[in-house]
Amino acid sequence: MLRTLARRLAGLVATLALISLALFLIIEVLPGDPAAIMLGTSAQADTLAALRHQMGLDEPAIARYLGWVGGMLHGDFGISYSYGVPVSQLIGERLAVTGPLTLMATLISLLIAIPLGVFAASRPGRIVDQGATLFSQLGIAVPNFWIGLLLLMALSLHLGWFPASGFDGWDHGFWQGLHALFLPALAMAVPQAAILARVTRASVIDVMNEDFVRTARAKGLSRSRALWRHVVPNALVPVATMLGLQISYLLAGAVLVENIFSLPGMGRLAYQALAQRDLVVIKNVVLLFAVIVIVVNLAVDALYLLLDPRLRGRS
């Protein structure tokens, strides 16, 4: 098991090296002079020289790449050009919004998807099942930023139940923070729930046909007890896989939803950095998103190895 895990970890490091190198090449080497891009055409020569020096552009490319990666390993992400503060500080503040937002969206989506998928699978072809199928098809098709707009229109502007925009931070109390993040999290959760409900349904139907379920029923367990005690735990493995694969889509959704609700998160940071052409921020935010996606997927893999001894022998 440790060997398998070590091999995955080596793969992770290789993938990260590949991504960081690609980002570095695209942002700092290919366009010629990133400082000129950031300052635009009207830049003064001395401003340009100062920024080039601050970004370390007067050093050779290899030294810059190693400096960037090495700096990141001890939390130094460089200094934002447009904000004038260390990027690590910006990212830290923004993660306090995007992190809880993404977690909340994941929780909401599981709370919708698992019961719906399980009930649909236990009554195939019935009205619950047809409803779940319809929800899956529609939920996948509807853009999360449109759901966000509709929720904003109905629940914030018309009914006034939720704040329409902004996030005051966690200092005003935990519940107030959750309250402000609920609608954006719900908007992100609906498409996720649609996909996860579909996977849950398919997986539960598969597991219900396994021998151990028949055994459980034969020894006298009721239908619902066999379902929740024996089928559901085993059916959740593909759901976890899908959750890992979907993290990339979920984070992409955060970029859009944060912009609708004006939440000061990572996605909005990246978007504002685009307007400012702040390549230092963009480079690090994009890499951080990639790190999250890859680490989450490795964590899902590691979880399997812990849960399912049969997988430990395989590579």
Partner: protein
């Protein structure tokens, strides 16, 4: 004859619905090249924010936006841009991704592993973030959107084709071809790709849906086709200011996006069931 058709329709509901929706959208998009109800760019301040048919036909079937432009006409022209970006990016993803996928299946050793890492690396960059990065470097626009979405599609196609190609390569006819002295390249081109083509086509339909969704997201952020060309995503972005006064501005483009995505998803589902009735599709 009619009974046979009814049975086909009952067995292939998803495919039929998908075909009807996608063909209608493509026809409307193509029609907009020759005819639209009103000019999609002409402003008419007297009609601004008017709801559907509020002033009779002069305020349009779907109403007017904040500049008094006709929303139905904007949606028709917007469909064209949306479909163009989706088709171009899926073409990039399908071609490069398939090439990488069948190569990885043919060379499972070092090359396969290296291609796997490459796929993981690309897959970790959501198209919205690559579009933000490319937008800062080369300016936002249609090309940026196509590049960002198309790149993300490469690992998606590579995964599907690699798996399918590995299954095909285990078949006896591949062994027969190898014994007949055919090289790996010939085997891949003549035997593997034709036998996984149906799975690639299913994936093209599903990824067209994903691409339309992503394009809408990009143009919502202003990273898609620039104005004055109308785009579904930007129409939604514009609607946010007028959610209370003119909710129709938010409803129409959102429904258009959802319908297009639903159509291509149903098409993909239906096709995959047609090819293999036992197979449940996973996205």
């Amino acid at each position: 004859m009619r009974a046979g058709m009814m049975r086909w329709l009952r067995d292939n509901k998803a495919l039929a619905a998908g075909l009807v929706i996608t063909v209608s959208i493509v026809v409307l998009a193509l029609l907009s090249l020759f005819w639209v109800p009103m000019s999609p760019t002409k402003m008419n301040i007297a009609q601004k924010l008017k709801g559907p048919l509020e002033n009779g036909f002069s305020s349009g079937l779907l109403g007017k936006d904040h500049f008094g432009r006709d929303i139905a006409s904007m949606l028709m022209v917007g469909a064209r841009y949306s479909l163009t970006v989706a088709l171009a990016s899926v073409a990039i993803g399908a071609m490069i991704g398939t090439a990488l996928g069948v190569t990885a299946a043919a060379r499972p050793g070092f090359t396969g592993a290296a291609l796997g890492r490459l796929n993981d690396a690309i897959f970790a960059l959501p198209p919205i973030l690559s579009a933000i990065m490319l937008g800062a470097l080369m300016g936002p626009g249609t090309t940026t959107a196509i590049l960002a979405i198309g790149t993300f599609m490469i690992p998606v196609f590579a995964r599907v084709t690699r798996g399918a190609a590995m299954q095909v390569r285990a078949r006896d006819y591949i062994l027969a071809a190898r014994m007949a002295g055919e090289g790996e390249v010939t085997i891949t081109l003549l035997h593997v790709i034709p036998n996984i083509a149906s799975q690639i086509i299913v994936q093209v339909a599903i990824q067209l849906a994903m691409a339309i969704l992503t394009e809408a997201g990009l143009s919502f952020l202003g990273l898609g086709t620039p104005p004055p060309a109308p785009s579904w995503g930007r129409m939604l972005a514009d609607s946010q200011t007028y959610l209370l006064k003119a909710p129709h501005m938010a409803l129409a483009p959102g429904l258009a996006i959802a319908l297009a995505v639903l159509g291509f998803n149903l098409l993909g589902d239906g096709l995959s069931r047609l090819i293999d009735p036992r197979r449940r599709i996973e996205r």
